[in-house]
């Protein structure tokens, strides 16, 4: 299996689906030049300017047009550049894309993949760093993915493009250059809806369950390594998708560990960690031998200066301390 970057894995996923299905179509700003992070490099040359559509700065039009195109038979891949800019197109995503199928009584689906690069990227400050995955998980009609690895980005992106629902697909900006082995040869059905929503256990262990997604998975793995050196073996679950999310995998794990930490880069208050903790407390109360714990960002905006920015990061050290606290 080749080692690809997270960026390249995403690029290959788009290429594969565009080759298979003429109705797949990318639209976003500066795509002709490869997109702002190079994740569309070379696509215009292969697929032409019709299918790789370089858009005006009009997030509302990009999203809205994609909704209309999806209802008229296309399968758009929308590029929002930074998840923060998608806030210029919330009506289009939440009031339109997410609800059209339902409101119209099933007359039309809205197959749409909305790529929203999210998360902190050194010194990008408050308007270019947000992680708002919890918002989208809250909205009926939407599917939400947050890939952590190159393989995730390949598999989940191919699946998302195939899924007939609007998928909010949140790549993490800090991961573009992360490398990992990618199995591109898996059978087609691997990319179908059936496989979607399954967590990956990145590391098995019995001392504590750590649930994470997106870039925070790597922080959790770092903590796990540190802890393992001390003989404490935690189980790290890469959730991969937030809606649907793999409740069974988390429940299975805490049945074993009796301890639950959920960690994410997003603000803790109203973050998706609350959903996971609450669900486990409601349905698997008896399995929890210790109070569950969220390790998440404080409810403050993200700063520009590195030292201030770091205040919203949950570090591996903090995870280690959290695990020890629950022992």
């Amino acid at each position: 299996m080749p080692a690809l970057t997270y960026r390249e894995a995403g690029r290959q996923a788009v290429i594969a689906e565009m080759r298979l299905d003429q109705s797949v179509w990318c639209l976003g700003e500066d795509l002709g030049r490869g997109g702002v992070f190079g994740q569309y490099a070379g696509l215009e040359a292969e697929f032409g300017t019709d299918r790789i559509c370089s858009a005006p700065i009009s997030e509302a039009a990009i999203m809205g047009a994609a909704v209309g195109a999806a209802m008229a038979g296309a399968r758009p891949i929308v590029e929002m550049r930074f998840a923060d800019f998608a806030l210029c197109a919330v009506d289009e995503l939440v009031n339109q894309a997410a609800k059209a199928r339902y409101m119209f009584g099933g007359q039309s689906k809205v197959p749409l993949t909305v790529r929203e690069p999210m998360g902190m990227w050194r010194s990008s400050a408050a308007q270019h760093s947000q992680s708002l995955e919890a918002w989208y998980a809250h909205i009926p009609g939407l599917v939400v993915a947050a890939p952590a690895t190159a393989q995730d980005n390949y598999t989940l992106l191919r699946s998302s493009i195939r899924i007939d629902d609007p998928v909010v697909y949140m790549e993490h900006k800090h991961l573009w250059d992360f490398e990992g082995e990618v199995d591109e040869g898996a059978a087609d059905f691997e990319y179908g809806p059936e496989q979607f929503g399954k967590a990956h256990v990145m590391q098995e262990g019995d001392a504590c369950t750590i649930v994470a997604w997106s870039a925070q998975v790597h922080v959790a793995m770092e903590a796990a390594k540190t802890l393992a050196a001390d003989g404490v073996h935690v189980e790290v679950i890469n959730l991969r998708t937030l809606w649907p999310w793999d409740e069974a995998a988390v429940a299975r794990s805490i049945a074993k560990t009796g301890r639950l930490i959920v960690t994410h880069e997003a603000v803790g208050v109203g973050g998706f960690g609350g959903e996971i903790v609450a669900t486990m407390a409601e349905k698997h109360f008896d399995k929890l031998q210790r109070p569950p714990l969220r390790l998440t960002a404080p409810r403050i905006p993200i700063s520009y200066a590195p030292g201030l920015e770091n205040q919203v990061r949950v570090t591996a050290d903090q995870l280690v301390a959290g695990v020890m606290q629950l022992r």
């Binding site: 109705s23 179509w25 019709d50 299918r51 559509c53 858009a55 005006p56 009009s58 509302a60 039009a61 999203m63 809205g64 047009a65 994609a66 909704v67 209309g68 195109a69 999806a70 209802m71 008229a72 038979g73 296309a74 758009p76 009506d91 289009e92 009031n95 339109q96 059209a100 199928r101 339902y102 409101m103 119209f104 009584g105 099933g106 007359q107 039309s108 689906k109 009926p140 009609g141 939407l142 599917v143 899924i163 007939d164 629902d165 998928v167 809806p193 979607f196 929503g197 809606w243 649907p244």
Partner: protein
């Protein structure tokens, strides 16, 4: 049949359609008064010529997007009045299975991709539908109807610019009835010339008397042909008037005294009738047409009133494929 006969026949047909729209909405208002329709109803009484002139001549595979005031457009595009009435009543057999109601009326089978509860939201959606047509190489056109209030929202600029930049087959129709809810649009619309707004975005325009159904149709056909020929989007400004309130329960007291009364003289249905009378169509024929519309829509009303409620389980259907939540057990 000579040209005059042909036009008379067509005008009579369009009047029949306008009568059906009027009768449909009057029935819907009665139903709202009788608490059989529970959601808001936005009647288009007085504006039927736009619906009839723009939408009736479209091909079935042309696409249409509409507004909260969309019954007329939907009927004119060929949707079934009974299914629509059932939708307004929230009953089984409604176009949207009772999930949408008046503000989300849609009939994808006739290319009607939906009314919209968010003012202006259909503009970008229409541009995208047209984009999909263009990508496929089809020769359909997309028609997008919105009100004079929508021109002050961002999508007006973004959607028209998008359509112009990508030369898309879309006809933007501004149904200008002078009011956005209780507000006179002119009071909050800078510049005031809506055609100038569209022209500045690279979209050629035309403005017509929107209560003259044949003028509307002639213009719509001409613009539609240009669009179908691949010359990009057009903007159609149809000047009309909302004879009733914003919703069926709005007495519209905010209008200057007498304003609406004066406008009834301009009622597009009456204007069509007057023309038909001059062309020799008899009073009896005109009355018969009106009665037929009434009868059809009263039947739709009765049908809807007697229709069953949708199965409660269906509340859980058509949310999404992946991650759909199941209906509770025992439902």
């Amino acid at each position: 049949m000579n040209q005059a006969n042909l036009d008379t026949a067509r005008l009579r047909e369009r009047r029949r359609l306008m009568l059906r729209i009027r009768a449909f909405e009057e029935a819907a208002i009665r139903a709202a008064d009788n608490k059989l329709v529970l959601g808001a109803i936005h009647p288009s009484v007085g504006q039927e010529a736009v619906a009839a002139g723009v939408c009736a001549p479209l091909r079935k595979d042309d696409l249409l997007l509409s507004t909260h005031r969309g019954h007329g457009h939907t009927l004119a595009k060929g949707a079934d009045a009974r299914a629509m009435m059932r939708e307004l009543f929230g009953r089984e057999g409604g176009n949207c299975g009772g999930k949408g109601g008046s503000m989300h009326i849609a009939d994808f089978d006739v290319g009607m991709l939906g009314a919209n509860g968010v003012v202006g939201a259909n503009i970008n959606i229409a541009a995208g539908a047209a984009h999909a047509i263009k990508l496929r190489g089809g020769d359909q056109i997309t028609v997008c109807i919105f009100g004079d209030g929508a021109v002050n929202r961002g999508p007006f600029l973004e959607g028209l610019n998008w359509a112009a930049a990508f030369k898309l087959p879309v006809l933007f129709v501004c149904e200008d009835n002078g009011y956005a809810s209780t507000t006179k649009s002119s009071a909050v619309t800078g510049g005031g010339d809506l055609c100038a707004r569209a022209e500045a975005l690279g979209v050629p325009t035309e403005s017509v008397d929107g209560n003259d159904v044949m003028a509307v149709e002639e213009t719509a056909l001409r613009l539609g042909a240009a669009i179908r020929a691949g010359t990009g989007p057009r903007f159609f400004h149809a000047r009309t008037y909302r004879l009733l309130g914003h919703t069926s329960v709005d007495p519209a007291k905010y209008r200057p005294d007498g304003e609406a009364d004066g406008k009834w003289a301009d009622d597009p249905i009456q204007r069509a009738a007057d023309l038909l009378t001059s062309a020799g169509v008899s009073e009896a024929e005109l009355t018969a047409d009106a009665n037929a519309a009434e009868t059809e829509m009263q039947a739709a009303y009765d049908d809807a009133a007697g229709a069953p409620w949708p199965s409660v389980r269906s509340a859980y259907d058509d949310v999404q494929d992946v991650g759909a939540v199941p209906a509770p057990q025992g439902l």
